[in-house]
């Protein structure tokens, strides 16, 4: 059995930032376990730009953003195992992993940071009727085929879901010579960033159909076409609006799910809305010494926020390892009136630093106020030009605000129109 102060599960942007922060805080023995052949995580296939504007003040591509952290990790004595899959994390913080060089590896850790990221929702979760031919895949799978493997997965494409990966792939496939016929979005608004609708769809004349979905796939061997239809307010297809579209590829960009199999294995409590663990302001889960950050905790739209969050987790893990932060009085945060969830779900009121509460809204709001309240006191109220489910927001809680709270307090965040 190996011994480390900190084991980081996942070598994407979250894992690397957490490990680097912990190193900066003085943690000695750190190891990153990464299942892919290289560090970088999903950023390796996100070759478009748009990363790093907040964190580095410049616009980088995914591999460039990851590259900066990889270079930092290489400068330290952080151990890295790539092509290594973590099979289990035990209640005693023993991490079991396997690879094809070292075989089965068991590591006893003081603290563990979970940074496994997320996965795409597959077709099965959608109940699309029809045949099961080749040519139906998630947008991320197609992205890997095109950007990493160098192969085109199709030529005539329909995309279901206007999340960012879907939009990015619409442009990517178009640039490589495919014809993207339409992007269908079930909701009456797009889940992607506005700029991606402009530069990935509008620029190429690709239609975006809102309140529209794919109801059936056709073709016995390779996909030959799909039937799309408009949906009503209850998101049910409207009879009579069906339209057949010939295509050989259906890309699905219908949501991301945090990958919490390992967390479930330890018995860590998950938030039903985020799908990630319930954490405090240092991203410590309800299991002592196990932290979570990045998309395994909540699905982010900007990697810059992943980095920010993971540094907090790295610092939290370091504090834990040094025995600095133990116990305290925790109170809950709660999203109400249009606020779907808040991360962190609990805050230590003895905390002496600013705490940012990250949240998402359930629908599009224009000119609405974000109100933070605790025990009947309004802590802050701020008007926002625009609030959309696709864009993560945050509000700040200062130590001064926390000082006036007690163990029965609850911080709520709500939208006022």
């Amino acid at each position: 059995m190996l011994n480390y102060d900190l084991v980081v599960v996942g070598g994407g942007p979250a894992g690397m930032a957490a490990a680097l922060q912990a190193k900066e805080e003085g943690v000695e023995k750190i190891v990153i376990l990464e299942r892919a052949e290289t560090l970088g995580g999903i950023l390796e296939q996100c070759i478009h730009t748009g990363f790093g504007l907040h964190y580095f003040g410049e616009e980088l591509s995914g591999p460039e953003y990851a590259g900066r952290f990889i270079a930092e990790v290489e400068k330290t004595d952080i151990d890295v195992y790539t092509d290594t899959m973590v099979l289990d994390v035990s209640k005693e913080n023993v991490v079991t992993a396997v690879n094809n060089k070292d075989g089965l590896i068991q590591i006893k850790a003081i603290a563990v940071v979970l940074a496994m990221g997320c996965r795409e929702r597959p077709r099965g979760a959608l109940s699309i009727a029809g045949s099961r031919p080749a040519g139906v895949m998630t947008a991320g799978t197609a992205q890997k085929y095109v950007n990493i493997d160098g192969y085109m997965p199709g030529k005539k494409v329909v995309i279901l879901g206007s999340g960012d990966i879907g939009l990015i792939m619409a442009r990517r496939m178009t640039l490589e010579g495919a014809e993207v016929k339409v992007v269908c979005e079930l909701m009456p608004y797009s889940g992607g960033l506005k700029r991606n609708i402009v530069q990935c769809l509008d620029d190429f004349g690709i239609p975006l159909r809102l309140s529209c979905t794919v109801i059936a796939t056709h073709g016995k061997e390779r996909l030959e076409g799909v039937t799309i239809a408009n949906v009503d307010e209850k998101l049910k297809p409207i009879p009579g609006t069906e339209q057949y579209i010939e295509c050989d590829t259906l890309l699905l960009s219908v949501g991301l799910i945090p990958e919490n199999e390992l967390s479930n294995g330890v018995g860590i409590e998950l938030d039903r809305v985020t799908g990630g663990p319930v954490v405090d302001e240092y991203r410590e889960t309800l299991h002592k010494g196990i932290f979570a950050c990045g998309n395994v905790l909540q699905v982010h739209d900007l990697v810059d926020y992943v980095t920010e969050e993971s540094k907090i987790a790295g610092k939290g893990a370091a504090n834990y390892i040094f025995g600095k932060k133990q116990g305290g009085t925790f109170i809950n945060t709660k999203g109400i009136n249009g606020v779907r969830y808040i991360v962190p779900q609990r805050v230590n009121i003895e905390n002496e630093e600013d705490v940012k509460l990250y949240f998402r809204v359930g629908q599009v709001y224009k000119g609405a106020k974000v109100v933070v309240e605790c025990d009947g006191n309004i802590l802050s109220s701020k008007k926002k030009v625009m609030l959309a489910p696709g864009e993560m927001e945050n509000v700040k809680i200062t130590p001064e605000m926390l000082k006036n709270m007690n163990e029965n307090s609850e911080i709520t965040v709500r939208i006022e129109e």
Binding site: I47, V198, D301
Partner: protein, 120 residues
């Protein structure tokens, strides 16, 4: 005349309103930074976009390596750029910043590598 744009300079995507009279830009509003102002003016006179794609990699761990234009290229020349990039190739090892095509189509933008590949 008013024209509404969504700024694509960064993920914020500010909604911008541009007032134009006789082809002259009178005002740009709604942007939250200087880049938005520049974007709006460019968009109405000479729209440009960053281009990201891959280029053939010889002897690499992977068959392709990602590249980007070092600065935005004219929007209407994207496919011409793609054609040139698809005909090009580079030999491993490559590192971030290596230039594959200099001054593509006279745009002033270089096509540069955006990932490291030390080869097989």
């Amino acid at each position: 005349m008013k024209k509404n744009l969504i700024c694509v300079s960064c993920p914020l995507g500010c909604p911008i309103e541009v007032e134009i009279e006789n082809g002259e830009i009178l005002s740009v509003t709604g942007n939250t930074c200087k880049r938005g102002d520049k974007y709006a003016r460019d968009e109405l006179t000479n729209p440009v976009r960053s281009l990201t794609t891959t280029v053939k990699l010889i002897g690499g761990a992977l068959p392709v390596v990602p590249v980007k234009s070092s600065k935005p290229v004219p929007k209407d020349k994207m496919f011409q750029c793609m054609k040139l990039i698809n005909e090009a190739s580079i030999e491993a090892p490559v590192k971030i910043g290596d230039v594959v095509i200099k001054d593509i189509l006279g745009s002033g933008a270089d096509i540069v590598v955006t990932n490291n590949d030390s080869g097989k």
